[in-house]
Amino acid sequence: MSVAETLALIFLLAGCGFYLAGTIGLLRFPDVYCRLHALAKADNTGLCLICAGLAILSGDWQVTALLALVWLVGLLASTVSAHLIARHAYTAGQRPITISKETKWLD
């Protein structure tokens, strides 16, 4: 296994770790804002790392440019989605939970 493959493998596995964190956050966090926070950041970091790993693995400038485009459009879509969903939840009457002794963190 060459150096490039090892590096790509590290990037891909790190990306998978971020995806796992995002999914666990989506399933376990207590309210919609926490879930949004977990998902929007972790998943895009995972996508970035996977794109970087695949770009190293392919070693082709055209493929790398396409992967970078996918990542940038993904960032844009995720930012817009996170803002719109959070605003929708806020105007629908949901408020972020506040930390107290009675807060049940894991529903």
Binding site: L9, L12, L20, L66, V70, A77
Partner: protein, 92 residues
């Protein structure tokens, strides 16, 4: 080595997707269900990109670009639809 890992990564991402379905069923509000759609878009894109490398199908990268472009429009559509319901409810 890398040819063994790539299918495993695709499998892992698809398991992530299926786990995210739990939020669609449990999610108490429509916004929670929309979060699962957000998860679907990013995870599907990553799975498609890895599959393009694994199966040597460059067309799948274009499919991934299309899906990631649709993801932004999806949440725009979601925000547009229930707003009208809320507004008509306030008017009555």
């Amino acid at each position: 080595m890398i040819d063994v890992v790539l299918p495993l990564i695709v499998l892992f991402l698809i398991i992530n997707l299926i786990a995210g379905m739990g939020r669609v069923f449990r999610g108490p509000t429509p916004a929670d269900r929309m979060l699962a759609a957000l998860l679907f878009s990013t995870t599907t894109v990553a799975a498609l990109l890895v599959m393009a490398e694994w199966m040597d199908l460059p067309a799948l990268r274009s499919v991934a670009l299309l899906i990631v472009m649709l993801a932004g429009i999806l949440s725009l559509a979601f925000v547009g639809l229930p707003r009208r319901k809320v507004r008509s409810g306030e008017d009555q």
